[in-house]
Amino acid sequence: MTFINYASREINCKIVYYGPGLCGKTTNLQHIFESTAPQSRGKLISLATETDRTLFFDFMPLELGTVRGFKTRFHLYTVPGQVFYDASRKLILKGVDGVVFVADSQEERMDANVESLYNLEENLQTQGYDLMKLPYVLQLNKRDLPNIIPAEEIAAELRRKEEPVVEAVAANGAGVFDTLKAVAKQVLTELRKG
């Protein structure tokens, strides 16, 4: 839920990165963290297992700049992608303003993408949200790997509305900021409409 603090002149929004296990959600945040000047971001908090699989969430606050005298701060979260962490995913979605679905472009992960997207829709519904009305971007990650499905095919399967589709290689940063920009624009546009 967008929080506007008139005293500190801040707009705070929450964006959640969703997707199946090992699709690149945490990698997106890590790249944003490493590429952003320290004064424009906070710490990257990662609650992870010993093998660096996200256990609960990753979190990073990001300050994009000032709009009409208000600092715009985005709180970026990732959910744990492994199937059995569904209870945690539900909790992280609470108060969401925008969602990025990170799809794994590899052929053998297509079923996992579909299952995760269905899970996203279900969990959003449980929280009272409708994906069709929420700021949303579809990222097709791992476009550098050899065994990938053509982007048009994945998009045809996963696209839910006319959401922006961004091809990415989060491991080297390609498409990461384009994705973030696309979802942030939608969130701020919604605020303007409000």
Binding site: F3, N5, F59, R68, L91, L188
Partner: protein, 157 residues
């Protein structure tokens, strides 16, 4: 669609800060802050020092969300308070509706005192936030309606 925004006017912010400052004094705490259950920091009072309150707010909200999930699994609605005792510093969290009241204290205070004082201000804070949650966009918020595509694009240059 996403929820309607939560609007905190200056007057309300200063009222909340005054309550938190009073609580901090009455409970001999180091730091008191108010956080939305979504992890958004609303206001704070006390010895911030080098504490990263943004991260602390997010983690506290995650903590409460996780334990709330556990509570529901055993038939409880939620756990209204959570306490974490460290060697020198401790944290007490009170759930007040959609807010979390977080008190950081050390040997200058005690859990009992913090719990008592937190309970005493919880109704007052709940009423304040109830007022905040009913705020809607008004004429003074026209600036948001005037945000242009160029304004948004300039954030990414």
């Amino acid at each position: 669609m996403a929820d309607t925004p939560l609007l905190l006017r200056e007057r309300q912010y200063h009222q909340i800060k005054a309550v938190l400052a009073r609580l901090r004094l009455d409970s001999d705490a180091k730091l008191v802050f108010l956080v939305d259950k979504d992890g958004q920091e609303i206001a704070s009072s006390g010895e911030l020092g080098s504490i990263d309150t943004t991260s602390l707010a997010s983690l506290a909200a995650g903590n409460v969300a996780a334990t709330g999930g556990m509570a529901q699994l055993i038939g409880e609605k939620e756990f209204p308070t959570l306490s974490h005792e460290g060697e020198r510093e401790s944290i007490h969290i009170s759930v007040i509706g959609r807010l979390l009241l977080i008190v950081v204290f050390d040997e200058r205070s005690s859990l009992g005192l913090v719990k008592l004082r937190s309970r005493q201000v919880s109704q007052q804070l709940a009423a304040m936030v109830d007022e905040i949650s009913k705020e809607e966009f008004s004429d003074e918020d026209s600036a948001f309606g005037e945000i242009t595509d160029e304004d948004i694009d300039s954030l990414f240059q």
